[in-house]
């Protein structure tokens, strides 16, 4: 390429354009082979009857939208969708409230809190292996586990059977999701709050506005893009909820499939090689996540999210 140096001008010469293509080729080649083709193939498979009964292979036979109709006819997907959304919400609502509170506390310089240690600790669970974390909770809250031991020694007659009750099982999954994500959310919201021009807040203080009022009328509206971003990415993450409930309930979604999530349902079909149904479920999940991803894309594209959390 050194031979092209005679064409060197102030602006980059056209001849370098091909290097752009060369540098991005590995990415796009890999993406096509390992993501795009599989995605197309997933759509394709969803139109075929293709499963196994014992040793007998049924299909593949083209049946149009029959798999989709079957998914809704069985009705399980509605139940699992509800489970997923319910568990996500129970984790997300305290998460956003506590994260907002922490972000405000951490960015309030008059309090002089030692934030870095706390930030480090609350972010830590985000990096923990979800399946190990879930296994840990299963051991801790099992019928003879440490938590029940403590409850008994504190005077309860007999332990509480956490995994035999709908509320406590869902609650524990939500608690784990909360613990794993509130640190991350706090850091994002902090970045948003620190991006606010301090002179706005100072002048509001001069005018005698109280701090709750400043929070409601200035901080909250200004970090709205980041709040929306957190909400949507958390929804996308919520739809992908798998490791925690899968390990906690051993893939069964006990009690009575009330903690079975959408991806656990997909996993069940994939595992039993019921490819038609798995395809239909995948496509439905793709549509939901694609809509949500589209929202994130628009936010990033319009420059609302980027370096420093918030762009002006």
């Amino acid at each position: 390429m050194a031979s092209k140096s005679e064409t060197f001008r102030k602006h980059k010469s056209v001849s370098y354009a091909k290097w752009g293509y060369i540098f991005i080729t590995p990415f796009f080649l890999t993406y096509c082979i390992f993501s795009l083709i599989p995605l197309v193939s997933t759509f394709y498979n969803s139109f075929f009857e293709n499963y196994r009964v014992g040793l007998e292979q049924i299909g593949p036979k083209f049946i149009g939208f029959e798999n989709y109709l079957e998914v809704f006819r069985q009705g399980d997907i509605i139940k699992y969708f509800y489970n997923t959304v319910f568990i996500w919400l129970v984790g997300f609502i305290p998460q956003i409230i506590i994260s907002l509170l922490l972000a405000v506390l951490f960015t309030d310089l008059s309090l002089k809190l030692r934030t870095s240690v706390f930030k480090s600790i609350i972010y830590m669970p985000n990096l923990i292996m979800a399946s190990a974390f879930s296994m840990l909770f299963f051991a801790l809250f099992s019928d003879n586990g440490p938590v029940n031991n403590m409850l008994v020694s504190m005077g309860m007659k007999e332990g509480y059977r956490f995994f035999a009750n709908v509320g406590s099982t869902r609650g524990l999954i939500a608690l784990m999701n909360f613990l794993m994500w509130f640190g991350n959310t706090t850091i994002l919201l902090m970045a948003g709050i620190m991006g606010i021009d301090t002179s706005i807040i100072e002048s509001a203080q001069m005018d005698g506005a109280s701090s709750p009022r400043i929070f409601r009328k200035i901080t909250l509206p200004l970090i709205r893009p980041i709040l929306v971003y957190v909400l949507i990415t958390s929804m996308i993450g919520g739809i992908q909820m798998f490791d925690v409930p899968q390990i906690l309930t051993n893939g069964k979604g006990n009690p009575d499939r009330t903690s079975m999530t959408l991806i656990m349902y997909l996993n069940k079909h994939l595992y039993s090689k019921n490819f038609g149904m798995a395809g239909a479920v995948s496509v439905l999940l793709f549509i939901i996540t694609a809509i949500l991803s589209g929202c994130v894309f628009l936010m990033v594209y319009r420059g609302k999210i980027g370096t420093g959390g918030l762009k002006k």
């Binding site: 140096s5 354009a17 390992f34 997933t42 399946s131 051991a139 694609a290 949500l292 959390g309």
Partner: protein, 288 residues
């Protein structure tokens, strides 16, 4: 700034607020760390000790539990650790190197599809891998790659979120002039990328390598569908296997030990690098 106006009552109210904030924070930290504290204690206690009830003090069976777990025929734990380490290291290297390359291609060159390529990467950034898992598995079995590490490693060459982060970083710290200067010195484009751009990207690469490593180390969904033979299993698969075995008949000392092995190494490394990582999260703003 309001020191002049600050009278005694305002000062007390700040102190009360500080105390309340610390109480709140300490409660949260307690909830965050308590499960890991019990994990630490119980991984040092033997099965009969654990069954007797909970204790706040560590036991003496740490070495005993490690030895039992390592020699357990049902759970190839040593293999599991090595497999997880190998896969995660490869993923960290490939995803950061090629994401840097992709971001550099888009950042430094002007070509016709430049904008379209970047928009495409932004568009697919959030699409979860699970939705194409069916096609992925079928393709891998057509390629005869089931039950190998390749499907767990090679796809990480295309990591849209890492590309996005690298691109963000380049916009703030890689002026195109550096590339032009290197050209004038007669360097070829690959040389420029490897010897000049990569060193500049080091901080971003370090953060993203950690995230890629950790997310591969923790990954359960795909490996569980791809890997079958015991000697290729990774740690999350072993944990799932432990869960599906009859839990109560199992040696609880070993159960806690395996969880501890999966969690504590990441935790220890994290606490050494936490400031760095937390800053990375705030800067990147987007994380999968």
């Amino acid at each position: 700034m309001s020191a002049d106006f600050m009278n005694a009552s305002a000062k007390t109210s700040v102190i009360i607020k500080r105390v309340l904030a610390y109480v709140f924070l300490i409660i949260l930290i307690f909830i965050c760390l308590f499960p890991f504290y019990i994990l630490m204690i119980n991984s040092t206690r033997s099965h009969p000790d654990i069954q007797k009830g909970f204790s706040f003090l560590p036991g003496r069976s740490l070495i005993f539990n490690i030895r039992n777990l390592m020699s357990n025929d049902q759970l190839p734990v040593v293999r599991g650790i090595l497999n997880s380490l190998f896969i995660s290291s490869c993923v960290a290297v490939l995803s950061t190197y090629f994401s840097g390359m992709t971001a550099f291609g888009i950042h430094a060159y002007r070509f016709r599809l430049r904008k379209a390529a970047y928009l495409f990467i932004l568009l697919i950034m959030m699409v979860p891998t699970q939705v194409s898992a069916l096609g992925f598995i079928r393709l891998m079995s057509d390629f005869k790659l089931m039950d190998t590490f390749i499907p767990l490693i090679i796809p990480s060459i295309a990591a849209p979120i890492v590309v996005f982060f690298m691109k963000q970083y380049m916009e703030s710290s890689l002026p195109v002039e550096i590339v032009e200067a290197s050209r004038i010195d007669g360097a070829n484009e690959f040389y420029t990328f490897n010897r000049i751009v990569i060193p500049i990207l080091k901080p971003a690469i370090a953060v993203q390598a950690i995230f890629s490593f950790v997310s591969s180390w923790n990954n359960y969904f795909l490996p569980a569908l791809i890997i079958e033979s015991p000697r290729r299993k990774t740690l999350p698969i072993l944990i799932a296997q432990l869960r599906s075995a009859d839990f109560l008949k199992f040696d609880l000392g070993q159960v806690y030990m395996l969880i501890a092995i999966s969690i504590f190494p990441v935790m220890i490394v994290y606490f050494f690098l936490s400031k760095f990582i937390v800053r990375g999260v705030a800067l990147g703003s987007v994380k999968g």
